[in-house]
Structure formats: structure tokens, C-alpha cells
């Protein structure tokens, strides 16, 4: 695995495509996070809320996106993590995680990060500031 701090500006981390979103993924996240909003797990409740079906927790997607940086905790840590929720993630969607280095400062690395669906549409996007150890 390459060392994060050796990445050049403009270079990306290897994108990761997640398995298609399953109902069990969202049930597990509801239990682990304590967010039991039924639009994420119960079809009828999602429909009542005007949605075509259950949608993933935005925080599930944000949690997944952070794992691009997990192998690098010996080199530093995520100091700032900012996300804007742009679109919904539905069952069976195939989400891909992306991070590109946009700035390499003495004390930190700044990345643009995003998650896209199988149509290439952004579902979340934002920034990670990784503070060097």
C-alpha cells in the first residue's frame, strides 16, 4: 500500500465500489448508530414519506466514505470531515467512494471526497483534512 503522505497533488486514492446496498446493511447501521428513522428500513414508512422506497442513511454513506483513510492512521488522522448530502441512495444502488488530493501543506493534506452511484451521480461530497502525524 502506498504511503498517504507521498501522494502528489491531483492524485487519487484507489476508488472503492461497495456491494449493492442491501436491506440488511441499513438494518445493521440503524442498530449500530441508533438512528431508527423508519424511512431507512420499512417500505411503507418510506412510501408514506413520499419516497419510492427505503433510502440509506446519509450517515451510512458518510461513514463508508471515511474508510478510504482508515489504512493511514499511523500517518495521521482525519482532523476535519465535511459533507454535503446531494442525493439519495436506494436499495441495490452501487456506491463508489472517491478521494483526490487537492493540497499538500506542511501540517495537513486536503482531499476532495465524494460518493457516486452507479449512474455517476454524486450522492455526497465534501472535504477531508488529514492532519499529518
Amino acid at each position: 500500500m502506498s504511503v498517504l503522505t507521498e501522494l502528489a497533488v491531483g492524485e487519487s486514492l484507489q476508488p472503492v465500489t461497495l456491494d449493492p446496498v442491501s436491506r440488511l446493511d441499513l438494518i445493521k447501521y440503524a442498530g449500530a448508530s441508533g438512528d431508527y428513522n423508519p424511512i431507512h428500513t420499512i417500505d411503507e414508512e418510506a412510501e408514506k414519506a413520499g419516497l419510492p422506497g427505503i433510502i440509506a442513511h446519509g450517515m451510512w454513506t458518510m461513514g463508508n466514505l471515511s474508510k478510504l483513510f482508515t489504512p493511514y492512521y499511523e500517518e495521521g488522522f482525519i482532523e476535519d470531515y465535511t459533507i454535503r448530502f446531494k442525493g439519495m441512495v436506494f436499495l441495490n444502488d452501487e456506491v463508489t467512494l472517491h478521494a483526490v488530493l487537492i493540497e499538500n501543506k506542511e501540517e495537513k493534506l486536503n482531499f476532495d471526497v465524494k460518493a457516486t452511484n452507479q449512474d455517476g451521480k454524486e450522492v455526497i461530497k465534501g472535504n477531508v483534512a488529514f492532519r499529518k502525524a
Binding site: L18, K67, T82
Partner: protein
């Protein structure tokens, strides 16, 4: 109504970064990395302990902001920010509270929308800040009518 809530905050609530909760959370985002869950890896790491994933503070109890009554349904999570002074260590005590940071309204494509900013804080036992979290919650016109804001 919500504008009047700006600045209101909850009391501090003691939370523990529980090992089992961190493991369950890491597994739920399919990120069961040894730095989060393997005790030996944690001890040998530069943190001398296992750490929690950056979005883990969702699990904590931040206490209740008196007088802030939000509807259970129809809220849209618009933005989420975390700032860390250092990662959270498994097993440590974190003292959490939250406040209404701001509220404003803007015209959007689905009518006049309210933007509520809630800021949350996590401190160690000595009162040193470890992290802050901010969320922007969007309250649509339909939902606002229901709550008579």
C-alpha cells in the same frame, strides 16, 4: 420560534467510547479495521489504544435542548461536519452537549425552507475539547406548517 432557540444548549452528558459499540459501528460501515477493533493493534499504534471511526459520535447522547421541539418526520439532513483535536480512544469518557448554533430561512424550489444548525461538543474528563460536530437540518415549508414555526 426556532430563531428564539439560537444559543440554547443542553446539559453535559457522560458517554463512554464503548468497545462493543465501536466494533458494531465499524462493522456496520464495513470497516472492521484492526485499528478500531484489535486490542493488540491498538496498543502498538501511535494512539496506544484502539480508536473510533470519525463518524462514530453519532452514537453519543448529547442531552436535551429544552424548548426545541422538532418533528419526528420530514427533516432533511443537509450537511454534516466533524472537527477533531485527536481521534476518540476506545474506553475513554467523553462529556457531550449540544446547542442551537443558528437558524435561518431561505426560499428554495419547494417553498421557504428553514435551516437549523445544531453544534455538538465532546470533551474529555478534564474539560478539554476532543471534537465538535455540526449538522445542518433542512425543514421544508410543509413540515414547518405542521409545526407552526
Amino acid at each position: 420560534m426556532l430563531t428564539d432557540s439560537i444559543g440554547k444548549r443542553s446539559g453535559k452528558v457522560k458517554n463512554i467510547v464503548e468497545r462493543g459499540a465501536v466494533k458494531k459501528f465499524a462493522e456496520a460501515i464495513d470497516d472492521a479495521h484492526p485499528i478500531f477493533i484489535c486490542e493488540k493493534t491498538g496498543r502498538q499504534s501511535r494512539y496506544r489504544a484502539n480508536i473510533a471511526p470519525p463518524t462514530f459520535p453519532r452514537v453519543f447522547d448529547y442531552g436535551v435542548i429544552e424548548g426545541l421541539d422538532l418533528p419526528k418526520k420530514g427533516l432533511i439532513h443537509g450537511e454534516q461536519l466533524y472537527h477533531y483535536e485527536r481521534p476518540l480512544l476506545v474506553g475513554e469518557e467523553i462529556h457531550c452537549y449540544q446547542e442551537v448554533h443558528d437558524y435561518y430561512e431561505r426560499n428554495g424550489k419547494s417553498g421557504e425552507m428553514g435551516f437549523l444548525q445544531i453544534k455538538r461538543y465532546g470533551e474529555d474528563s478534564d474539560g478539554q475539547l476532543i471534537f465538535t460536530e455540526e449538522q445542518v437540518v433542512i425543514i421544508t415549508e410543509a413540515v414547518r406548517k405542521g409545526m407552526k414555526v
